[in-house]
């Protein structure tokens, strides 16, 4: 136990202020995101992540948003296990034909008003997989999308910025 405590104290708080992708003051962005979440979502934004066919690269970066350096929970962002509690769907793509029905059902199960954020080049337009017998292309080919976050994969900072864009 003492080792655990020592390691915790030695590590300290490693969380960094969020950097804005577009030129703006670094410190304002984090507060901006937090303010927007406070105002519109009663202090918490609940996200349901859906992999509609990605190569799992985007999932790695979404995971990284939860690490202590990006620490998205400080802004009140939580990932939920059920779409029924979600304010936002964070969808990676392309939409595989075999996932189309599951994606539609997840969308239908999310209460309105809901936001949909398409993540990654493949989520935006199908990326390298494009349209084929097995891939339907970008997320907006199946459900309406509010914000697009391009990148292969987008960095955790780009993801947080994209989420900010979606709620402001």
């Amino acid at each position: 136990m003492i080792r655990i405590l020592r390691q915790i104290f030695r590590t300290g708080i490693v969380t960094e202020p969020l950097q804005l992708v577009v030129e703006e003051d670094i410190s304002t962005v984090g507060t901006k995101l937090e303010e927007a979440i406070r105002k519109r979502f009663g202090r918490s934004l609940t996200i349901r992540q859906v992999d509609a066919g990605s190569c799992n690269g985007c999932e790695l970066e979404i995971h990284a948003m939860n690490n202590p350096i990006y620490n998205c929970e400080r802004f009140g962002i939580h990932f939920t296990a059920s779409p029924r509690f979600a304010d936002m769907l964070l969808v990676t793509g392309p939409v595989a034909r075999n996932m189309e029905i599951a994606l539609r059902r997840t969308y239908a199960a999310t209460p309105s008003p809901k936001l949909v954020v398409a993540v990654g080049d493949c989520g935006c337009n199908g990326g390298i997989f494009g349209k084929s017998y097995a891939s339907l292309g970008g997320i907006d080919a199946v459900i309406p999308v509010d914000v697009y976050i391009p990148g292969c994969p987008p960095s955790p900072t780009a993801l947080l910025n994209g989420i900010l864009r979606a709620i402001s």
């Binding site: 080792r3 655990i4 390691q7 915790i8 590590t11 490693v14 992540q49 859906v50 992999d51 509609a52 066919g53 990605s54 190569c55 799992n56 690269g57 985007c58 999932e59 790695l60 970066e61 979404i62 995971h63 990284a64 939860n66 690490n67 202590p68 350096i69 990932f79 296990a81 059920s82 779409p83 392309p94 595989a96 034909r97 075999n98 996932m99 599951a102 997840t106 990326g127 390298i128 997989f129 349209k131 084929s132 017998y133 097995a134 891939s135 292969c152 994969p153 960095s155």
Partner: protein, 526 residues
Amino acid sequence: MSMLRDAIMQAFGEHVRFDHGLHPSSVATCLVSRDRFGEAAKVMKKAYALLAAEWAADETLLGRGYGVFACYRWGNEYLIVKTEVPSDDAWFPSLSRRFVPAFRFERQIMSLMGITPAGNPDVRPWIKFEDWPEDAWPLRKSFDAAQQMPRVRGEYPWTRAEGEGVYEIPVGPVHAGIIEPGHFRFQAVGEDVINLEERLGYVHKGIEKKFESLAWQDGVKLAGRVSGDTTVAHSIAYCRSLESMTGCPVPQRGHWLRALFLERERIANHLGDIGAICNDAAFAFMLYQLSRLKELLLRTNLRLFGHRFIMDRVIPGGVAVDIDPAGKREIFAEMELLHKEFERLVLIYDENPSLEDRVRDTGILKPAAARELCVVGVVARASGLNLDCRIFHPFPPYDRHDWMQLDVPVLISGDVHARAWVRIQEVRESFRIIRKILEDMPDGDISVPCAQPPADTTGFSAVEGWRGEIIYWLQSGPSGEVNRCMVRDPSGVNWLGLELAVLGNIVPDFPLCNKSFNQSYSGHDL
């Protein structure tokens, strides 16, 4: 050594023909008649071989029918046994009696290529869902990849269990966490799992078919996106297969940089996995500590190589990015910091009794079962199988065994702890290898232009990614274009191991077992 080659020559005599169109020449392809394809498997089984992959290729453009291939491995030898199947009589004898994983490879061959494996007890479609038209066989040359397939009515026959107190838990495809989609169906009595059936294919994006429409040079981008977490290893495997076909002389420095990227990818993913295993045993402390270390590594990648996962930095003929002395110093300093922090955390892992209680004796895959299932990589090494392409099928600098002295951890308990501990040992080993590579890296070019392969040749490569052995098999068509690209991610066989390991465990331990395997859905579904 040529144990397998000798065994098949002895058993078949003049009835086996060696095909010299495969590269590298250290891997042989031999042709047997269709009715003796199963017999060849029997000979291989007797020679202690493991089945590495089984696949089919449509060779109608080359003036033949279909080719069905089985790739066997024993020690450092790979042998591919091929049989030819006429287009109008598309069947081949199933190998599932001799090699368990064949049943799933063959379901895939049947679903995507439309060749019937005669004698396979399980002919339900795999990856092809029940709502696909029955005659849609995407890997056939006659199939139009751009078409939108209509949805038809159909039903997937699940394995059922009946009896007093038996109940069923369907999970997925959309899971509770931030993970890829797949469907699991448990039959349980009380808390004990009596059967687990996986159903994958949700993220099938038609990757193998897509390769056929790309130029050789562009294929590497797609290979880097077969499974995003293994982008380096997949790119290397694709490039090595292509380079073997063209005889491309990759410069030494290019090889060494590939090895550097490969080991960095291994460390990053293992750090994430060890943390995630602990987190699923409700020890979140480790997840956050290790994900912090992982983040440091990824940021160094971004600074030095221009991408957090080093995606698209391996190209046919070498690599696209070099390292300078300042970069080397940065990695040395980083390795030192990471190693020190990592050892502190390993001590905490090792001394924590509540964690030990969860990870020991959970999700056991016994060595005998691991051998039957022909699993690879971390899963195999945690269950007593000494397999590692870095030893048995190396590229430079791994081929300098005396210099590298690679220590491959092999444990025999086959439980969650063994899989975590193999990862821990491999991280330590990768720290050491990276230092060695940086110290002795030769000077020179980092890449050379890679030529186009000639018509009707095949290339093979096996590369040890962080999950395990990745196999690429490429075939060129009549005008030198891509005719077929077969991808065998470790997940292609290791998912079977999970089905077996979870039996007899309690339902709440499933996430822990699953995390200790951590197989790729995308790499499996393709």
